[in-house]
């Protein structure tokens, strides 16, 4: 036997010690199912907590400030330039067919229905899901979450629900603002680059939008806010491996919430189009 784990013993590993590919795959599948189950439970609790007190209004306001007001600069800045780029890209194509006036229609529909909600969701996920995961993860590894439980506070009520609710409430507002500044950017690009009259751009942009488009554009962010906050909380509260684990959880929170937002967008678009046909 070796005195230290670093000495070479010359012994071959026993048959039982070998791990088969099947074991690795089945363990990964089991872990994935357990993760999905735990995430679903946490997500459901974050909302069911609203039905029964205690409620943490001050924490909710703090989170609304952090997620909503804190994300404003990044959302406004990116929204503006996305509008500009949209006009530059589509305008050059429409100009080839002498239909540059249609730019306002296309930019407004694309922004309100799709680009505004999705890109705002991804930007806010990048900022807030990461922030939530690292904050809760740090609290977990420094035993602050246990301390909270030891003092009779339910962490899902105090930490998770305010963040989830704040994200759900702020995401549509941020998206609305992103859409607006996107159209502003689009208008500026139309005027200076395509020489389209600003009044004509706005008239066409507003006329192109129907009630169903607005509903679609403002309903999606509710789901995106829920996704980014629950994923951030889940990854933060399941950190393993100290500070290195916090870093890993933060990265995973951003990646998973961004991917889930895109996937959810696909299904929500299909549902919204179906409802638009049936209802609006």
């Amino acid at each position: 036997m070796a005195d230290t784990p670093f000495q070479v013993t010359g012994q071959q590993p026993r048959w039982e010690d070998k791990i088969s590919v099947f074991d690795v795959l089945s363990n990964s599948a089991l872990k994935f199912v357990a993760d999905v189950q735990e995430y679903s439970l946490l997500a459901a609790r974050s909302l069911s907590n609203l039905l029964r007190g205690p409620h943490y209004l001050q924490d909710l306001l703090d989170q609304m400030d952090d997620i909503g007001v804190g994300s404003l600069p990044i959302v406004l800045l990116t929204g503006f330039f996305i509008g500009v780029v949209m006009v530059l890209q589509t305008g050059s194509q429409f100009t080839r067919f002498g239909q540059s006036a249609l730019t306002g229609d296309v930019v407004s529909i694309a922004l309100v229905r799709e680009l505004g909600p999705t890109l705002t969701g991804i930007f806010v996920a990048g900022r807030c899901a990461a922030g939530i995961a690292s904050e809760l993860g740090s609290m977990l590894v420094t035993e602050q979450v246990d301390a909270m439980r030891a003092m009779g506070t339910d962490p899902s009520r105090k930490l998770v629900t305010p963040r989830v609710l704040a994200a759900i409430l702020m995401q549509p507002l941020l998206t609305g603002l992103a859409d607006f500044v996107g159209l502003l950017g689009g208008c500026a690009a139309s005027v200076f680059s395509l020489r389209i009259d600003a009044v004509e751009f706005w008239t066409r942009a507003i006329k192109a939008l129907e009630f169903g488009d607005l509903m679609q554009g403002l309903m999606k962010p509710l789901a995106f806010g829920f996704i980014l906050a629950t994923v951030g909380c889940y990854k933060g509260l399941t950190v393993r491996g100290g500070t290195q684990g916090v870093g890993r959880a933060t990265t995973q929170a951003v990646v998973i919430s961004s991917v889930l937002i895109i996937v959810a967008d696909t299904f929500l678009t299909k549902i919204a189009l179906f409802l638009s046909d049936k209802i609006f």
């Binding site: 246990d146 301390a147 439980r149 030891a150 003092m151 339910d154």
Partner: protein
């Protein structure tokens, strides 16, 4: 004798009966049974990884045992739902190893946390917070944030936070770990004061035998307002506290349980390693 203040007919404040708990790599605690009587201090001794912190978390209901029963203040923790446990935990103070203070809150807000959770009138909160911080001699740190405090100060604030609601039981997780001898002594003095002034029942996990002997051999005299040696002689008249006992954990089980004298007189080679 201090020990005589234990009423044998009293029910235990904490009672572990054949408790087992394990994680992925096997059992950490196997068949662990012990009792802590009201106003008694039980020192949990053991090497790192022997389940001391785990025992404290089980006693606070932060973890559930896989088998066996845990009764604290007459309540069976294994049969309680999380909602009931949250209410129960308000009767138990927990001092975490590194303090576990909320680092985004000031010292005052940390100490006031339980009162604010209970929606206690703001006018009543401040005097209680000041009193708790005065007890740990940190009244001046009221508006500081935890990262601005030294390790010893963080533990003292943690003690203040645990005592703000005057819980009958306080659980200490290695309260002197990583501290210099002088600061360790300050922490032990605070624990003595908490025990001898308020008569709290304590379960204290540590790997430092001197902490246990300090608690067993010293006593905080309220009249002279200082720590006095050989608490047992003086305690007969003044102490709220009962005896101090030791429980040594090893390989997932109880290796030794007894008085400080029995531990000191033991010839067991493993126990002697703690006595060196």
């Amino acid at each position: 004798m201090a020990a005589s203040s234990i009423d044998l007919h009293e029910s235990p404040a904490i009672e572990f009966d054949s408790v087992r708990i394990g994680f992925g790599e096997g059992d950490i605690l196997r068949n662990v049974s012990f009792r802590v009587m009201p106003r008694e201090t039980l020192i949990l001794l053991g090497e790192t990884g022997t389940g001391k912190t785990l025992s404290l978390k089980l006693a606070a209901g932060l973890l559930k045992a896989d088998a066996g029963s845990i009764r604290v203040l007459g309540k069976d923790l294994n049969g309680m739902a999380e909602r009931e446990l949250l209410r129960f935990r308000r009767e138990v103070g927990f001092v975490f190893q590194e303090g576990a203070l909320f680092d985004s809150m000031t010292v005052a807000d940390n100490v006031a946390y339980r009162l604010l959770e209970d929606r206690v009138n703001t006018d009543e909160v401040e005097p209680k917070v000041r009193e708790a911080l005065r007890f740990v001699e940190l009244e001046r740190a009221l508006d500081l944030f935890p990262p601005e405090l030294s390790g010893g100060m963080r533990r003292r604030v943690s003690i203040a936070r645990a005592l703000i609601t005057r819980p009958p039981i306080v659980l200490y997780d290695s309260p002197t770990a990583g501290l210099d001898p002088v600061t360790s002594q300050t922490i032990i003095t605070l624990i003595l004061r908490l025990r001898d002034i308020y008569g709290v029942t304590a379960l204290l996990a540590t790997h430092r035998l001197q902490d246990g002997f300090a608690l067993a051999n010293f006593y905080f005299d309220k009249n002279s307002n200082r720590v006095v040696h050989d608490g047992k002689k003086i305690a007969g008249n003044n102490s709220n506290a009962a005896a101090t006992r030791f429980l040594v954990l090893r390989d997932g089980g109880v290796y030794f349980e007894g008085s400080p004298e029995q531990l000191a007189a033991s010839n067991d080679s493993y126990l002697k390693r703690f006595l060196v």
